[in-house]
């Protein structure tokens, strides 16, 4: 069944995106230039997936799916877009990792590993929620984005202060800033995926509404 093919493709794309993020962070932390270059090259695979999924979605729409199938098809399209961006952000991190690996490390402590952990967790949880059609789990992901944003802000401040104090580290610190920003974006995309999963399961569009920290009450289904 074509819907199953769609789901399969999406999940394969997701695993590629997760791997890309993992590897790019690894390259960043371990100053692994070769790994960074590999991530950059593999991004084209993720892009190709987006094209194939969009094509499949159009084909499915000609069959006029309804109800859950309709929501699945439109959600699949959106998730694939988000995953493609995640791939792009991973590539950006990989490029920063490549540049940073050419230069000596900066002596500074930042909470990047913790932020990376959170972002990866969010992404994995969102994709699991999609597979399991678990709307409760999906809703739980959304507030965690605030944590990642806060961490990003904190890291930026520390880096900014360091740049002021040690001007010779400016280019390296800027690279770190960009990498953090990309990580923050990855977390945003994970949140988007979670919102799409909620729409798929509950037919409720919670985008741009649950910004006040409290998850909206779940309608009975």
């Amino acid at each position: 069944m074509e819907l199953d093919v769609l789901k399969q493709k999406l999940l394969t794309m997701a695993s590629h995106a997760e791997t890309a993020v993992n590897q790019s962070l690894q390259a960043l932390m371990q100053r692994d230039r070769d790994l960074a270059l590999r991530v950059k090259d593999d991004d084209s695979i993720i892009d190709q997936f987006e094209v194939e999924i969009d094509d499949l979605v159009i084909q499915l729409l000609t069959k006029a799916p309804l109800a859950t199938n309709l929501r699945l098809v439109t959600v699949a399209m959106k998730i694939s877009q988000n995953l493609e961006r995640v791939g792009d952000e991973a590539t950006k991190i990989a490029k920063r990792a490549r540049d940073l690996s050419q230069e000596p490390p900066v002596k500074i402590t930042i909470e990047l590993p913790r932020m990376a952990g959170l972002a990866l967790e969010m992404l994995k949880a969102a994709l699991d929620a999609f597979v399991n059609r678990d709307s409760t789990a999906a809703r739980a992901i959304i507030p965690r984005d605030k944590e990642v944003d806060a961490l990003n802000k904190q890291i930026h401040e520390i880096l900014a202060q360091h740049m002021v104090a040690h001007p010779d580290t400016i280019s390296r610190c800027l690279n770190w800033m960009v990498a953090c920003k990309s990580l923050e974006r990855i977390a945003d995309h994970a949140k988007n995926v979670a919102e799409e999963v909620v729409y798929l399961c509950e037919a409720q569009d919670i985008r741009h509404t649950a910004g006040k920290g409290q998850a909206p009450p779940i309608a009975g289904t």
Partner: protein
């Protein structure tokens, strides 16, 4: 027997004005053909000046329901009904009410177009008026043009009103039947799969026509074609095995139905 609560739409319809007016108030309708319990305690309110689609698998009772709305199910021998149906407040099954009068207020168009073969186009349009006693020639001529215009057929036949009705194509014949039904000026128009025997072009003309007509008439249409229901109806009722399972605004039924049976039918998992 417990009174079934009427199922109300969970959302408000897009069309505003007369959306709250109810054309047909159906309460606990049950229909029996002999020992066969065909419709089971159906309750729903058909909104006025809107299109309500009735969907469901074969044998679920949708045609029987439609025919109960203008007492046509009584043509089947041993037909029996319980419950109440009110047309704009009037009980159409009251003992003092003649079925003939109900049918002049609630018209019907059938799946297979059936213009009377011994009559011309114009005669077909006015047959409902003439055979009910109308004699005024001026009125008949006016009503002929008016009805044919409403059925989007006037331009195609205005030069051959006296041609035999069966010389028209299938799609034109069906529009002629619609004109014939409209000529008696009913308040509600019932349509039993009106386009299922037509090619896609003729079907789309009928669908455009329905969208025009709903400005002035209440329309109830039985259809097998869910895309058609999604295209033209404001409300949709899903029937299964003689029961009304779900009734709601059309977009809700087709994007996020509440009942699992509806979901299964709409996504093609059965029926």
């Amino acid at each position: 027997m417990a009174d079934n609560a009427t199922i109300h739409p969970t959302a408000t319809a897009p069309s505003s004005t007369a959306a709250n007016a109810v054309a047909l108030n159906v309460r606990n309708l049950s229909v029996f053909f002999g020992a066969n319990h065909v419709l089971k305690e159906v309750s729903l309110n058909v909104p006025a000046r809107a299109v309500t689609a009735i969907i469901g698998p074969s044998g679920c009772g949708k045609s029987t329901f439609l025919r109960a709305l203008n007492r046509m199910h009584e043509l089947v021998p041993e037909a029996r009904m319980t419950g109440e149906i009110r047309l704009f407040g009037n009980d159409i099954y009251a003992p003092s009410v003649e079925p003939v009068l109900v049918r002049r207020r609630v018209g019907m168009v059938f799946q297979k177009s059936n213009p009377f073969p011994t009559m011309s186009i114009a005669e077909n349009v006015t047959v409902g008026l003439r055979l009910n006693g109308a004699r005024d020639r001026k009125l008949l001529v006016e009503r002929t043009e008016q009805s044919l215009r409403m059925a989007a057929l006037w331009d195609e036949v205005k030069d051959r009103l006296n041609a035999p009705a069966i010389s028209l194509s299938g799609g034109q014949q069906q529009r002629l039947c619609i004109a014939r039904a409209l000529a008696v000026q009913p308040e509600v128009l019932l349509m039993d799969e009106p386009a299922s025997a037509l090619d896609p072009l003729a079907t789309s003309k009928i669908e455009d026509l329905i969208l025009e007509l709903k400005k002035d008439y209440t329309i109830v249409i039985v259809t097998h074609n869910m895309q058609q229901a999604a295209r033209i109806s404001d409300f949709t009722a899903f029937f299964y095995l003689g029961e009304l399972v779900e009734f709601d605004v059309t977009t809700k039924i087709f994007t996020s139905p509440v009942k699992k049976q509806t979901e299964d039918y709409v996504t093609g998992r059965f029926g």
